[in-house]
Symmetry: C2
């Protein structure tokens, strides 16, 4: 590439990364608002989270168009190609994180009832943990910080343990309060969605690591993937 | 493109499509075997389904490498680019269908117990329905038959209704048999995985339609997506 082409490529990559950071901000926000809607039985907020997911989808489509255009026009090699492909995959993962937040929002009307079920109160802490992972991995992406990405992967174990504990708590609660089983079953899915958000943040971390180092993180069989 | 380039491109596309058909066959097989493992509490078969998922993952990685290479080397335009991008996305969707089958297989050891729980007997029919959708959509892809793809999208409603019915059945069973709640909770996730397989087959159908016609199917808010 000549210096003009290099500069054009850098601009393209900058735009790609900017779009992904935007997506990440929206996804993190969607998790926080979905959990808030759940905790407060706020149907309007839940509906808004669902509607706003379209913005994340639109950004992903933009990333895809731009990435394909970069590959076709600039035919980047090695490190540069790796960066474009990583960006494309990260956008796909963040879009799915947004979907999980949307799915949580969709459960809010199903869980609402006159009798507030108790175990709902343990889910926000898990939601914060998942949201923190998403923020941390997008910071690692923005800073191209592969050590920070590795820490995100490690933190997924704590989220998996949290999920296992919530699963047991919810099952016990169902056994003791059979009238609430239908609602609590929806909470099981909410907890599972949060656990999957952690898995996807982990996958993003692996792509950040790959883009930065050119090698895959060691192949691990993850707790969360084990369970679901 | 000159005629040599056209022929090379056609060969590339042929390879891409061949890899995806292979992936589809493995995914369809994984669903059938996971459901068999579940129905018979066959832990060995379940373990095999988990292990075999790596083959689907490897094929997806190959599709990705080949697609990026085609875009970079041949810089295809319009219809041709659309076909490559569709293939890339379809491979991603089929890989996720394989993951859902693997997730079902992972539940088998958690559900096993001395007391066989009854509702397990309704799940194989749902598994067949989901597997049929996967086969139908890959046939539509192989034949570039967008009308067949549309029929797959329509059939997803039946799978969603099946899921809703199973959800209610499982909740009722839990209420009446509190001792089985923990196992039946795993069955809820199995049913949800099958419902998600239907959503992904639907997404594949949409990509087949898009590759064939250049337009998106009308934007619909799908039942299954509604629920989870």
């Amino acid at each position: 590439m000549n210096s003009h082409t290099v500069k054009a490529f850098d601009n393209d990559i900058g735009r790609l990364r900017g779009l992904i950071s935007q997506m990440g901000g929206l996804a993190e926000d969607a998790i926080a608002r979905a959990m808030q809607a759940l905790a407060r039985s706020d149907l309007d907020l839940a509906e808004q989270v669902r509607a706003d997911d379209k913005r994340i989808d639109a950004l992903e489509a933009e990333v895809e168009r731009l990435a394909v255009q970069i590959i076709a026009l600039r035919a980047p090699m090695a490190v540069d190609l790796r960066e474009v492909v990583a960006a494309l995959k990260i956008a796909g993962l963040v879009e799915r994180i947004g979907d999980y937040a949307k799915n949580i929002a969709k459960r809010v009307p199903m869980i609402e009832s006159e009798h507030r079920i108790e175990p709902i109160s343990i889910l926000p802490a898990m939601g914060r943990m998942a949201g923190d992972m998403v923020r941390a991995v997008l910071d690692a992406f923005a800073a191209r910080d592969f050590a920070a990405a590795m820490r995100v992967v490690e933190s997924d174990t704590a989220l998996d343990d949290f999920y296992d504990s919530i699963f047991r708590t919810l099952v016990t609660y169902m056994v003791e309060n059979p009238r609430t089983i239908s609602q609590v079953a929806h909470l099981l899915f909410v907890a599972k969605n949060l656990e999957r958000i952690g898995d996807h943040a982990t996958n993003v971390a692996e792509m950040v690591y790959f883009a930065a180092t050119g090698t895959q993180m060691a192949d691990r069989d993850r707790g969360g993937e084990q369970e679901q």
